[in-house]
Symmetry: C2
Subunit: 695 residues, 2 copies
């Protein structure tokens, strides 16, 4: 699934994610929080008992890419290993028409040659603190959902801000178990990140969209960055040592990464909402984006270069979500979920105390889903990434809201404008990443058309937005008139506050102002009538499950650090045994089987160095580790805490993993550690980097 | 627009098309019926008076491709010229893995080498008879819409069947002016059609999807068939003589062809329905089809060969409909329509007699559109091509319905099963065209998923259809189990009637039976509550317009023969003058400008013969002729009734032509007659064919 593992956007996930709680499987299931590891299971099944030192070391070696993915420190000199497709955002931003590092690969010969990412933030988890009591105490039972949401938001903002002031660390309160618990995560931040090495796109994404989410695979989906502090390579205490042999057959392995979102605690009403409403809706939009980006990319070689990162991301999401939907449409998959829910509800109904305390949860979620269905179109086009598209409008909206939010106390702001979130927001807002007019135009045109379809062309808001023109002509005016490409202009507007915004004649600022009241109104409705109601109801469900089935359960994914575990192991597909391993030599065979064409053209470097490559080197492998989008780039670790591989994909059978984990079929796909060294040494003339990795 | 000019399917158009009536422009607007030509306009603007002989000759030289397009006889020896993309359906069906005539082109060296199309029917109009009085007399004012629909259907079936019996000609009663008039069209049919010559796909569709609907263009979008009778080349009395010089600058030209559908009589309620409901809905489906077919085509070279005809058709429709939608979303385009409607309604409201007779029309259409909106999803997945996909299911459904319809009298059958339609239906049903399992599987899987989304996975019908499996697994079972690929099995079931159908264990027959009651029910609702109501209401509107503005107006397109007229003339685009002409030499420059790659790779034959090609030969040209999808392949004719070119596309500005014609911008794009001769003689080594064309 490569790209599915990069989150769509952290912001979207932040808005939509509903941390869920799932029952423990008897299997390798689970994405466990670092302060709540499955110690008994590990001991029982694998005879492994992680020490505190082991846990602390792994936790501080794991890196979150805030662009949406995972990685790890792999040297004391600041080297961060991640997937090529996680680095793609930066690879794309540091490329130019003449130097397409994303496509051709990149190698910094010296540290001075390492280009700086314009807006990349890495987070390294330092500690977790349970703040459930304080958060839930702020919400009184008698409060309306609106008051409850505001109170909760306020206490969270306060906790975060206090922590930031006290520790200087990025401080996020994370909603776990969909509202069952609240934990404070503190991160060390790195914002000076530079590109060290990347292979060619052709080998990183070998097999392209057709091979994506398939196995066996032959992808070198890796790249190396270096974290800097004070303009010097960061000195890293906790980094993963490179294993001598790498992952081995049937070996116990761990994945330490940042799964973005799962929905395993979903009630049946929520699953059906996903199946019948949400996924079909998003998929229609993704297909639309895909066609739009394809059309754009056909305009010539430079358009292709500019558009491809977005295009591949959208294709990946489309394939991932289609896999989720197909799973939900299979009655065989939902039946056990329905049965389990029925049993739990019956048990609750049969016990007066349980009934009084938890009995209303399912009905409340069902009602919230009805409200969400009603709000869906308007909310999506006014407040999510299905709304008005392009980097420039996004900047305009941030500026408009920043001015307004700055006039409020920290506790009353929209969450992404809180004090604790501020520096990350500013990093994005003042990014010097290139913005391409014609791509902006394509996105703006299409998204104005989409908004017009969803709100109806007769809507007064739409008529005001289009200003008497068709979407294409209006978009052309907006792009021609805006000055927001200039970072200095953004700074000027941000510093000028409300007065600067209100007097701005920039057409995108004016458009963002026009939209803002309606967007805020629908967001408020959504937060109060969906998010808050579900948070309370899932809180009930989480508590009843803890009470009835015990505390040994992991929370749904929340793009926070988790530990998964499992075994390197193949699987059966249509009666055929799929072996866990591929080899580097196999890549040449795989290319030949596909006529060495289209997505199966190996890069020149591989052909040139073919005789030097040890063909039997383990290349990609699968394990039963439970992962999902956001885990891309996560290190795979052995008992000794050493680096043995890097997650980059899941098999197609893993896509339903958003809702259900099935150990017989679900497999995480990794690049083996040995192949990375082999490639650096014998293909990419980078023995020095291999050495820096300790090999 | 090339492919837009091929109709989506005649059947769909038949179900959906609502013949509309538009006011006469002061311009070259209009697709005129051959029994109602704009003689005064032609005289006034062009000093041209067509004789009856001219009209009769042109009418009988024009050919309708029932696969969805137009063409013309161009020799006494049965040669029929059409577009490559109109012939594509047949080119694809006569191709095999080793012989991809669609892609590589084709040349029959002798008549014995001309391969026969498996299911192509050509129609040549012989006469038109006004049967309005008889049809409308059958529908009494006091009838409910349901009774009215049945009565109208019955009288139409009777008229058609009587005419068929009397003349032996295919006889279709056509609804004109959306219900204002009913005319009986009689056609001579040709069903033994053989392929003579086609150029390579690369030059027929040079510039591909990016150039589609763009101008200037450089496409040799032509191919030649030959009609046979009694296993001999048909002897053709009326065929178009090849003009010596071809079309010239500022020359008056005519287009005689079969525009598929326009909606120019649409009321504002109907336009808004198209803008806000229908077009967005179909576009979502088209994008879905496009992605599905792309995915299928990526599976390898043979998949690419098999899938591309469908894929290009879908891409064409997507681009065409997006152009329509963009036009409707432009307030500047709808405003004059709104104003005209308002004025007419005010005039009707002010006159008690007009008000009593016509006043209710607009409100009735608005109500019909509300009903159509409610029925849309269910109707589309159960009864249109957005339903269960693939050739095999379509065969199964035809067999199931055939058995049932055969037990009813002719007047009570579903229209496509009437006596007069029977032979065309059977030609399709027993077609020997290849059917590819894996494409069937891809279509069936995706369409079962689509149906599940639209009807909801909890719908009992969906659960019965999926039989406890997911769409992919269910589709695999259906394809593995059916025997309908064998024509003999289809014949056996058709001959066995209801007993054979009811005892059939073929899973697709069983699926079609399962679906049929619901499909018939929704169709009945749609016909009675939408089609019939609109037919009556548009009948009112047509009559009031005739009364108020006079009889000189053309009916909306109905995939029947029409004559358009206009001038060879360029246009302005973003202030730039676009010249009417391109040349064959220009094709090489156009390729070079696009790096001679992707869709701009000229075929080897052009490079080989470059020195022999007269570079200045006129190649493609534009005219103001008013055309739309279905006109593809229409001959362009001069005053002398000679062939001067062939329609294959419209510019992007013409897409809104479905609703509004604008002479300043709307252009029809043609291949010039001279370039066809030049290509046959100096590129394709086919001087003999050029000679047969009289050159």
């Amino acid at each position: 699934m490569s790209r599915q593992f990069r989150m769509l956007t952290p912001f979207l996930s932040f808005l939509l994610a509903i941390a869920a709680m799932a029952p423990i499987g008897q299997s390798d299931e689970g994405m466990w929080a670092f302060n709540h590891l499955p110690r008994q299971q590990l001991k029982a099944k694998y005879d492994f008992e992680p020490t505190d030192a082991w846990v602390n070391h792994v936790m501080k070696s794991a890196v979150r890419f805030n662009s949406g993915g995972s990685g790890s420190f792999v040297s004391s000199t600041g080297l961060v290993l991640t997937n090529h497709h996680v680095g793609a955002d930066t690879l794309h931003k540091v490329s130019t028409a003449g130097n397409d590092y994303y496509r051709q690969g990149f190698r910094a010969r010296t540290q001075a040659d390492e280009p700086k990412a314009p807006d990349l933030e890495l987070n390294v988890l330092q500690s977790i603190e349970d703040v459930t009591t304080r958060v839930t105490a702020a919400v009184k039972p008698e409060m309306t959902p609106a008051a409850a949401f505001a109170a909760r938001q306020a206490v969270i903002a306060t906790i975060e801000q206090e922590s930031l002031q006290k520790t200087g660390l990025r401080s996020d309160v994370v909603t776990l178990y969909q509202g069952g618990q609240y934990h404070l995560y503190r991160y060390k931040k790195y914002t000076d990140i530079r590109l060290v090495w990347a292979p060619e796109f052709a080998i990183a994404f070998f097999g392209g969209d057709p091979d994506n989410f398939e196995y066996p695979r032959y992808d070198l989906d890796v790249c190396l960055f270096r974290a800097y502090e004070n303009d010097q390579p960061a000195k890293i205490e906790h980094f993963l040592k490179w294993s001598k042999a790498g992952a081995a057959d049937n070996e116990l392995v761990f994945v330490a990464g940042h799964p973005g979102r799962t929905d395993r605690l979903n009630t049946m009403a929520a699953l059906k909402f996903n199946r019948d409403i949400r996924l079909p809706y998003i998929l229609d939009w993704l297909r639309r984006e895909e066609i739009m980006l394809q059309q754009y990319s056909q305009d010539g070689e430079e358009s292709y270069r500019i558009g491809k990162e977005d295009l591949f991301g959208v294709q990946n999401s489309r394939k991932a979500l289609l896999g989720q939907l197909a799973g939900l449409q299979d009655a065989g998959i939902l039946a056990p979920k329905a049965k389990a829910e029925e049993a739990l509800r019956a048990r609750v109904a049969a016990d007066p105390r349980l009934k009084a305390e938890y009995g209303s949860a399912w009905q409340r979620i069902e009602q919230a889903k009805q409200v969400q269905t009603e709000l869906l179109q308007e909310y999506s086009v006014l407040e999510t990434r299905q709304g008005i598209g392009g980097a420039l409008f996004s900047i305009a909206r941030t500026l408009v809201r920043l001015a307004a939010e700055n006039e409020k106390p920290n506790t009353q702001r929209l969450r992404e404008f809180s004090d604790s979130a501020r520096s990350s927001l500013v990093l994005q807002l003042y990014s010097s990443a290139p913005i391409y007019d014609d791509l902006e135009l394509a996105k703006l045109t299409d998204s104005l058309g989409y908004l017009t379809e969803k709100l109806g062309a007769d809507s007064p808001l739409v008529q005001a937005i289009l200003a008497g023109k068709g979407p294409a002509a209006r978009a052309a005016d907006l792009i021609a008139g805006t000055k927001l490409k200039a970072v200095a202009e953004r700074e000027r507007l941000a510093k000028g506050g409300t007065a600067a915004i209100e007097s701005s004649t920039d057409p995108l600022i004016q458009l963002a102002r026009l939209l803002d009241p309606a967007a805020r109104a629908i967001r408020k409705k959504y937060e109060e009538q969906v998010v808050e109601v579900e948070r309370q109801a899932y809180g009930q469900i989480a508590r009843v499950l803890f009470e009835v089935e015990g505390p040994d359960r992991y929370p749904d994914a929340t793009f926070t650090l988790r530990l998964s575990f499992g075994t390197v192991k193949g699987y059966l597909e249509n009666g055929q045994r799929i072996p866990p391993w591929t080899t580097m030599g196999g890549a040449f065979d795989h290319a030949a089987r596909h006529g060495n064409r289209d997505a199966w053209v190996l890069p020149e470097s591989w052909h040139q160095h073919r005789s030097k490559i040890a063909a039997a080197t383990p290349y990609n492998f699968v394990s039963t580790c439970d992962i999902i989008g956001g885990n891309s780039g996560s290190p795979v670790i052995n008992r000794a805490g050493e680096f043995v591989g890097i997650i980059f994909d899941g098999n197609v059978q893993s896509l339903i993993g958003n809702f259900v984990y099935d150990e017989t079929q679900n497999r995480a796909v990794s690049v083996h550690s040995s192949s990375i060294i082999e490639a650096l040494t014998n293909i990419y003339d980078a023995a020095d980097l291999a050495q820096e990795l300790g090999k």
